[in-house]
Symmetry: C2
Amino acid sequence: MDRPAPGGEDSALMSAALRTELKAIQATVEAELDRLLPPAEGDATRLREAMRYSTLGGGKRVRPALCLLSCAAAGGERSRALPAACALEMIHVYSLVHDDLPAMDDDDLRRGRPTCHKAYGEATGILVGDGLQALAFEVLAREYASDPPLGLDLVGLLAQAAGAAGMVGGQALDMAAPALADRSEAALEAIHAQKTGALLRAAVLMGARCAGTTAGSPRWASLDAYARAVGLAFQVADDILDCTATTEALGKTAGKDQAQDKLTYVALLGLEGARAKARSLEAAAGDALAAFGPEAAPLRQLAHFVVSRTA
Amino acid sequence: MDRPAPGGEDSALMSAALRTELKAIQATVEAELDRLLPPAEGDATRLREAMRYSTLGGGKRVRPALCLLSCAAAGGERSRALPAACALEMIHVYSLVHDDLPAMDDDDLRRGRPTCHKAYGEATGILVGDGLQALAFEVLAREYASDPPLGLDLVGLLAQAAGAAGMVGGQALDMAAPALADRSEAALEAIHAQKTGALLRAAVLMGARCAGTTAGSPRWASLDAYARAVGLAFQVADDILDCTATTEALGKTAGKDQAQDKLTYVALLGLEGARAKARSLEAAAGDALAAFGPEAAPLRQLAHFVVSRTA
């Protein structure tokens, strides 16, 4: 309540160290994605070009950042998690490309540019998403070939988060939500835990797994709690931004939630209520990392960035 | 030339043993898919119901059969390859669901029933495909968790075959083909090697891998050669069926290739030429298995079935 509303001030609030860190991560991930994507030449050039168009040239790379910083927080070498970070981003990008399709959210603008199907046609849009999903798993299989137990665990974490019990299921729930009788906070949380939460959680857990942390350990449980809080905070912030930010700042159409009568945290709690919710989730994310030392500082700052970002 | 044309006589030509075998495989795969698919209840019920609708209740299960019989031919226990066989079928079914979408081939009928998007709407059709692809990799990660080197190899083989260098790339090429200047047999073969060939090849190689055969061995090379010949034969037979079989027999709309001026083997070689091509590919498939004993007999018969099938 006594803090300025999100919008414009995140660069002041975010530590300079994290800003530098995030910029470095974005550059590293961009270069690695460029390397991992098939070149836009040879057979099916248009498809490959569209895959590159949708994946490269921008994006906050929040999932890669969560993955790399979680690996570091769990005591691992950040570079070990880079292919996993890129696989996560490929799944995220494919979901954006499919969600933007006319039969889904029907959006024309993404990252400040025409959406994939606007630029390349609807058939190519469908195939770009399909191809990126396959590529994510191909990358995991190839880049972790020297450590199959790690590689196969990563495949399992990513596939579960992406599928019908995760992201795809959440998108199906979200599409059906306007017709839902149950417009409670619990119903909304259930949707988002799947739609965006599952992949953000996978980012944190895959990073931890790359550091050798395995399911069932105390460290795993702490990072899992952090991930759940951050994932939900991310969505609350998204809902706030949809009604406070401009289309230009977002790089995608603003104000769509209200226009489509979507169930959002702002619709449910009001703007101030949603902001309070975001802050309490940020605090919960910090609490989850209580047992960690300074190696988890970037993760703590990232929780703050997620809540206070302006786009 | 002196053999009756494919159509109607396959049950007479196919050995009774293979018919029994295929029926048993179909039943086993159906039961396993039923177990692996999420139940149509709880969250996102409609999505889960549509995933089951598209996957269960029919289909020749050619890819699972290739996978299981290849495993046996390479000296393995057939049951070891069952999860891989189901993962292959999930990828195949997702590709059918997406290919049937209005922006792609725009088809209303599949396996004798309304296509997924006709029955459940276009948004659900997109999500069903996305969810089935994720499930295929989830199944591999979970069901081969006790043997990570095997599991990760299977993930790599399947992802490569499904992606932009395989099935998805082939579909993109196929959509662009009517506008292609190059209407040569080499151009057509390049499309099909990706569009249908890559996944059929993956079926054979994944089966072999489940038997402990690894890339680079002579056995692997023989099965690979078999798979390439059978994959192409399958597509030639498909082209023949599209213009000789009825919609009722196929369970999908017949005669679409000609209506859409698609580049097909029949368009290129004529009906008799296409039949001769299919027979020579069947012979090549048999030759590739020359070093194998009776354990490969079902694979040899399957090559014949693929060419002489009536639907």
